[in-house]
């Protein structure tokens, strides 16, 4: 079956695509505003930028599952909350100078963020391995409902654990520490979050472009094709789910630091919905989409919320508009359809 088609090869992408320009602009604004706010002594705005950044990291995590792997998890609050509780519990024991557990080996608390982040991500990874191993046997609506159910189980578990505040949550009296920098400073903490966001996006991009990413992307586009090409979809999807959860877990740990508090609300299904809103609003599968989504969400909540408590009505309308008219989210509206090679 020889063919002699002479159709031109697809045109090479321009050096700087429109999406790249948007990405750079968004990140520049996100970095510049708190720098400026800090210089005029308005830490409130710096913290607001930190909140956007942290939510964006959570969104980058979920976006890896949805946008790359096609796994619409409605239970990512579980990982956000586990990340938060890891921070809270570590800080609690460090503050009280007690042990988290004594048997079979002693584990004390810590106030070192770097350790907490690693522990939080590992615990989230293990939780995601268990949740994913069961949930990924289903698809579509069932997958959504099972991930939701698991998150609710963890939510009720947190409520009924009085050692760590139960329904009242747990305060972190002193922000945990980082080596060499003063994490208590709002601007420093923002910069730490910003660097972690860049890291999360970078890791997400690298993974998406790797052989693993190619397999995960095919699991989203056509699972039959993946299996027919000799790659079992289940372990690929499970690995993607675990990575996604770990990124969202890191965001949870940072969120607890920012607020100096962890509570069951971090684990509630509202939170899962919010993280999904960041992803959908920004543009599913767009690397920097969650940054735009999280920024819009926080700004709407802060400014419209100041004006009326029914700000979510506006959020709902924005979401409706995006779903109806701009399937690629805000990023899709500004930068056009996603490109594939």
């Amino acid at each position: 079956m020889q063919r002699t088609d002479t159709a031109p090869k697809s045109i090479n992408m321009p050096k700087l695509s429109r999406e790249t320009v948007v990405n750079i602009a968004v990140m520049a604004i996100l970095l510049a505003l708190p720098l400026w706010a800090s210089s005029i002594g308005e830490d409130y705005y710096v913290n607001l930028a930190s909140l956007i950044t942290i939510f964006a990291i959570a969104g980058v995590g979920l976006n890896f599952a949805i946008g790359q792997g096609g796994m619409v998890s409605f239970g990512h609050a579980a990982f956000f909350g586990i990340g938060g509780y890891t921070t809270g519990i570590a800080a609690f024991h460090s503050f009280e100078e007690t042990l988290f557990m004594a048997i079979p080996f002693a584990i004390s608390g810590t106030n070192q963020m770097l350790i907490i982040w690693i522990v939080a991500m590992v615990i989230c990874g293990i939780a995601a391995l268990a949740i994913g191993a069961i949930s990924l046997r289903t698809e579509g609506v069932y997958f959504i409902m099972i991930t939701l159910a698991f998150a609710q189980m963890i939510y009720y578990f947190a409520i009924s654990w009085p050692t760590y505040g139960g329904e009242d949550g747990l305060s972190i009296y002193l922000r945990n520490e980082l080596p060499m920098v003063d994490a208590e400073s709002a601007l420093t903490f923002f910069l730490v979050c910003f660097i972690l966001l860049l890291g999360a996006i970078f890791v997400s991009a690298r993974l998406s472009g790797s052989r693993f990413g190619a397999a995960l992307g095919t699991a989203r586009m056509n699972e039959t094709r993946l299996a027919t090409s000799g790659i079992d979809p289940f372990p690929i999807k499970l690995t993607g789910f675990v990575i996604s959860a770990m990124i969202t877990g890191l965001a949870g740990a940072l969120f607890a630091e920012l607020n100096g508090f962890v509570g069951p609300s971090m684990l509630s299904w509202h939170r899962s919905g919010e993280i999904m809103v960041f992803v959908i609003l920004g543009g599913v599968g767009r690397l920097y989409g969650p940054v735009i989504g999280a920024a819009l969400f926080v700004l709407l909540e802060t400014y419209i919320g100041e004006w009326t408590q029914h700000w979510q009505l506006l959020l709902g309308l924005a979401l409706l508009g995006v779903v109806l008219f701009a399937r690629g989210g805000v990023m899709g509206m500004i930068a056009g359809r996603a490109r594939h090679d």
Partner: protein, 249 residues
């Protein structure tokens, strides 16, 4: 006697009261094209599903190159050398033909759990995929999204994906469907060309192609293989004419 590459023994499958596959046995020997024909509803799709691994048979076994693969997954059978194409092409539509074939190449090279190296700068991977596309005659169209390719071209991509896994046997489900006369002839020539390397189990409605290509034909009616023989035997059989060809005429 040459050892069959693919062997199906005593396959049974029922869906409730419907017996979709009744004690079907067939084999595929090296260098041959074995055609499987039968009227609509004869149970061809169910049989293919069981051979490829999507459907678990109630009883019976499937051997690939002498190895029992009855309980293996679809992916595992593909890796062990069962290549296939679908009646309706099943590809990742959003990405290029090359990307689709690259996935098969990476699977044939082993693990997909490589997280860091970028596939777009992996020249060896890209080149290997490009070579397979050239082999099926799609060399000039390799970087076009599959969604923008014609039906015939998609089938070519599927075959390239299958070949990239270095299959021991090919399972082609109505490859001529939707091709048009020219495409049909091209594909027929191509299948002739690869027959010495890779034997083919061919499910096809296009009788001209079947009679031209097949070394052996098995007729499936009502879930059972009612007859198996050479092209001439099948042509001559009154039973087949009644069950199958009669309906076509």
């Amino acid at each position: 006697m040459t050892k069959p590459v693919l062997e199906v023994k005593g396959l049974h499958k029922s869906f409730g009261a419907l017996q979709a596959t009744k004690n079907v046995s067939l084999d595929l020997k090296p260098n041959e094209i074995h055609a499987l024909i039968g009227p609509n509803g004869a149970g061809k799709s169910t049989l293919i599903g069981q051979i490829a691994g999507w459907i678990t048979p109630d009883s019976g076994s499937i051997y690939l190159d002498g190895e029992d693969v009855t309980s293996e997954t679809v992916a595992s059978r593909s890796r062990k050398g069962l290549g296939r194409s679908f009646q309706v092409s099943s590809l990742a539509m959003e990405v290029s033909a090359r990307r689709n074939v690259m996935l098969s190449v990476q699977a044939s090279q082993g693990s997909s759990f490589r997280f860091w190296k970028q596939t777009k700068s992996d020249e060896e991977l890209r080149e290997t995929a490009g070579n397979w596309l050239r082999k099926v005659g799609l060399g000039s169209r390799e970087d076009i999204a599959v969604s923008e390719l014609s039906h015939g071209e998609r089938r070519q991509v599927e075959v390239a994906c299958a070949l990239a896994l270095k299959p021991k046997a090919l399972l082609l489900d109505e490859p001529m469907a939707g091709l048009g006369p020219t495409g049909s002839i091209q594909l027929t020539e191509f299948l002739e060309e690869i027959r010495p390397e890779i034997p083919i189990l061919l499910i096809e409605h296009d009788m001209d192609a079947v009679f031209r290509l097949a070394d052996r034909i098995t007729v499936l009616v009502g879930g059972a293989a009612i007859l198996s023989g050479s092209v001439d035997e099948i042509r001559a059989s009154a039973l087949v004419r009644e069950a199958y060809l009669g309906e076509e005429a």
